[in-house]
Symmetry: C2
Subunit: 244 residues, 2 copies
């Protein structure tokens, strides 16, 4: 049985205030926890799992701090409506200031607000082999359980850093930079990129170009009908499918 | 002030059982209600709005049954966390059995479960000028408030019909048919379509091809990384961006 103080500690990680202080987050479900154990094992602090998960996995991860718990205890610590076998407490990843954009594709998210969108974009990046994302400081928090769960495990493979994007972009002058806008060059007519920075903007207002380098190229997804906009994650998927 | 029986009636439309019986649904917010009034005015049964909306719109829609209500009454009848000026009670659209796929692009949704995904797909279809969608009977309900709101007004422009898709596809033998799968022809290498049916499958299991015509072509979005799948709405956006 889980002691009360442990239950309380894990529950507290549902709140940003405590995640910030503890520098930890929670991840739930077999797929997500498995991906983290596979790719970021040293970040996984503790795992709490039902007997069936333990039986299937404890041999493979004998060097991890695993705890077998009951369904009642899992219910207590889970953030999900339907708890799913296993929950991991994970150390937050390093947030580096020194990220290079050379020889790769980098996504930059400018003031993205919706946690589901951020998680879905991380999953899309992973699908297209984009391994780094830079978020503006006002982008929604990576470790929000809604973001973590929406990545479907891709949080274990895609590096996400929060930086002053204006400063960072200014340092990447030698790398082509593109901003997704309602008007610009047709993305379906562009050449594939080997190296480049693609900036995706806020759901309602798009990319704020006022402070961005003048050399930035505006790109767009041609609109054939009457919808006013596309969802930010859908737009990211379309752009990457044409440029990667 | 709204009478109690009216409040109760509108609230009941939050439930599928009553929507089915009354053949009505609710749509909220200035953008959605405006698009419905513009494109489907005869379907709009009644509109309930705050004074500021009335002031701006009642002249333009004098032939519509408009009711000015208080913020307190709007709160009572709204399905939104933050009610947004105006709510319309709308008659459900005709569900026709005789839909032709000739000379256009048709999206077919096979057992799509998530209301947000359905709404987003309707919005994507509208962006790419796709004006008809056929849903399998087990696809989530069009008139669920989550679907309606996620269309951001595109429900007023895209026709959605619920049919036995197996039978319907069998009747469209002369139109090229494509199913989005994890394996198939690379969609980014295909020619643009003037006429065609594109089938999008269930979020977890994809398209169930067991009962589909043998001539159907499998298409896919090449995967460069390790994510296991893409969100159904994102996949739809990417496919349409390459084929339309």
């Amino acid at each position: 049985m889980l002691v009360k103080s442990k239950v309380k500690y894990i529950q507290s990680l549902g709140q940003k205030k405590f995640r910030d202080r503890e520098k930890r987050f929670i991840a739930e479900g077999p797929k997500l926890v498995y991906d983290l154990l596979l790719e970021k094992k040293t970040s996984v602090s503790e795992v709490f799992a039902l007997p069936e998960w333990m039986e299937a996995n404890q041999m493979a991860f004998a060097d991890v701090d695993l705890h077998e718990i009951s369904a009642i205890d899992l219910e207590k610590i889970s953030q999900l409506k339907t708890p799913n076998q296993v929950l991991a407490v994970v150390n937050q990843f390093e947030n580096s200031e020194n990220i290079s954009a050379r020889n790769k594709i980098t996504l930059v998210l400018d003031n993205l607000r919706d946690p589901g969108n951020l998680g879905t974009i991380i999953r899309i990046a992973d699908w297209f082999g984009v391994s780094q994302i830079i978020c503006s400081h006002n982008t929604t928090e990576l470790y929000n359980p809604k973001v973590v769960q929406a990545t479907m495990g891709s949080i274990a493979r895609v590096e996400v850093h929060y930086l002053d994007i204006e400063k960072w972009l200014a340092k990447q002058k030698d790398v082509p930079q593109f901003a997704a806008m309602l008007e610009g060059d047709d993305v379906s007519q562009m050449k594939k990129l080997k190296e480049g920075i693609i900036i995706i903007g806020n759901e309602a207002n798009g990319v704020d170009t006022s402070n961005l380098p003048a050399a930035i190229k505006k790109i767009t997804i041609p609109q054939y009908g009457k919808a006013e906009s596309l969802n930010a994650a859908v737009a990211t998927g379309i752009i990457l499918s044409h440029l990667v």
